[in-house]
Symmetry: C2
Subunit: 249 residues, 2 copies
Amino acid sequence: MPHDLAFQSSQQACDVCPIRSRAVCAHCETDELADLEGMKYYRSFEAGQVIVWAGDGMDFVASVVSGMAGLTQQLEDGRTQMVGLLLPSDFLGRPGRQIAPYTVTATSEIVLCCFRRKPFEHLLAQSPHLSGRLLEMTLDELDAARDWLLLLGRKSAREKIASLLVILARREAALARQRPKGRFAVELPLTREAMADYLGLTLETVSRQMNALKREGVIELEGKRRVVIPDFEALVIESGDDSDGGLPS
Amino acid sequence: MPHDLAFQSSQQACDVCPIRSRAVCAHCETDELADLEGMKYYRSFEAGQVIVWAGDGMDFVASVVSGMAGLTQQLEDGRTQMVGLLLPSDFLGRPGRQIAPYTVTATSEIVLCCFRRKPFEHLLAQSPHLSGRLLEMTLDELDAARDWLLLLGRKSAREKIASLLVILARREAALARQRPKGRFAVELPLTREAMADYLGLTLETVSRQMNALKREGVIELEGKRRVVIPDFEALVIESGDDSDGGLPS
DNA sequence: GGCATGATTTGATCTGCATCAAGGAAGAGG
DNA sequence: CCTCTTCCTTGATGCAGATCAAATCATGCC
């Protein structure tokens, strides 16, 4: 039985929270934060643990504080596709919906800041700061899903791998309010199988393409779960789209 | 130059609107509807016309009244993926964003109920009925995008075609507040190429699979743009997922 | 250390769909 | 009626990535 970190950090204050500036609560005022503090609790999961099963009831919603999780959908015969990637500051759960439509699995050790559903929904109805931010985040997620549709529908295996690394690098940089450039290192808290499920490939193809990119010097592997990108712009070219990621300036 | 139908219908009243019960304005009260009437105007486009180009400014948002449109994304080398399908009652545009990220093309003749951006955003900030409904619709769209990810990542060409027909049948039935069952006819306001762009296939594969389904009696074709589904449940089985579409009862 | 367990790599072969290449069909405009 | 043009179908061939099969590597446990 894994050691549950939940109660170690159960009373961390919002004003020192690392995701404060990007999470659902980003626009909240002091009094709203106080309300949120009253309904929140932390939970931790280890890599591989299931956080929610599709079809189960959920009595909470949550923000990812650290770590990574995947939303996963399945066909009856077992074919699996990841349909959402939860990184720090992302939101888990849908207000107004009790039953989870997707299975959520921790792909690395993860810490969630959970809010009890009922009080959260109540506050959501009161606070335009909260509901406005949630709308904004949902629209961003929809944009990300649409980029992902392009990836799954039209990119080659090699481009898919490169795209995933670009996404992870951008997200990691965004938390530090930067953008990736030149030499850059990324944590890769995913097994080859999880990557395959994300990219609509098999794990063998993922392995082959990763090693091909490595052989050609586009990436360097430090162990299996850490990637160094010697030239970020070169990786972006491999990813197939030349967009700058839509970030300003 | 096509004949512009825009001004023929420029003053249709909201209370006789066919999409009233499902569009952004669904939860609005009489006074909010009056505000909306003041900022709205209708525009029509013919099949194949571009409604918005990616990168262009948009000074309106809109609801689809009738017809169909596709949001489309492209890689520099021309590979094209549809990333959104706009059917009656769907919402076009993102509040707070001026520049369109995707090209929007009418795939059939289409009528839009447009709202001037600024007044709409103002009302959105005032009205929880409006913003709440928009959040709800955005979350539904995200769910649809996630089903689509599964389709693109893991389904065979045959399953993809069947899935598209199931989606169109469900949407057509939903407008009449029903669910498809038994024998059912669907309009297919898409060229083979548009279907291919939706499904991440080539138009040749779409054509072959459509005719294969026809040969096997799963579908019947009335002309090229109308499909009769003799047994809806059989089509759902071909689509690969046995879900009931998530509708209650 | 020795041994299980799970993750990853690597190789050989197969196959579904893309690609390339002609034709048909059906409507629009002269 | 003829001739574009656009859309669709059908056939032949090739290839990227799936599938099947075995090592290799790591890690934790006894």
